[in-house]
Amino acid sequence: MKKVSMYTLSTCPWCRKTKQFFTEHNIPFKFTDYDLADETTQDKIMRELDVEGVNGFPFVRIGNQAVEGYQPKRFAELLGIGSGAE
């Protein structure tokens, strides 16, 4: 199974939906809430996202692929599962 990790914001409903998507599909994932992280961690995340050209959250890595935003169809496609219903 592909490894899934994500950067999220505790204030963002789409980040919550993203976590819910992976939970409902029984896909284990790691996440860091950027806004709750310490400044050193935030700076590290920002350097990573700047390289990717990412501006909005959620930011999800599925294997070696990256997805910006709540995109359930894309998540399902990258995971090779059927349900990407919005």
Partner: protein
């Protein structure tokens, strides 16, 4: 701070800013209430109502571009999506906000 009264004030102010740009509050009332509450809390913490779905970088010039309503700074992108990134605002003609996905600007060919 009274969260409900501040939400009401932000609603009043935001409507005046976004309506001339062709946007309105999302018809998803539950989403709008949640986002406004997050913005009130962000405003209490940081002094301005930042977007709840974009990261605060501690870089003033970049952070000012995510103060709600941030539509003027992302106009081409948000016009193409017919919504703002967090979904608090949608184009005036939108009746089904759930049909509008988040799509990064670069995936729409927008710089």
């Amino acid at each position: 701070m009274n969260i409900e009264s501040r939400k009401k004030a932000l609603r009043y102010f935001f409507a005046k800013v976004v309506e001339p740009m062709g946007f309105k509050f999302t018809p998803d009332a539950e989403l709008a209430e949640f986002l406004l509450e997050q913005e009130v809390k962000l405003e209490a913490k940081h002094g301005v109502p930042f977007c709840p779905c974009q990261p605060i970088r501690r870089d003033r010039s970049r952070d000012m571009k995510i103060v709600c309503p941030c539509i003027p700074f992302h106009r081409e992108h948000f016009d193409a999506m017919k919504r703002c990134w967090c979904g608090l605002f949608v184009h005036r003609d939108v009746t089904d906000p759930n049909s509008l996905p988040q799509v990064p600007a670069k995936e729409m060919g927008i710089e």
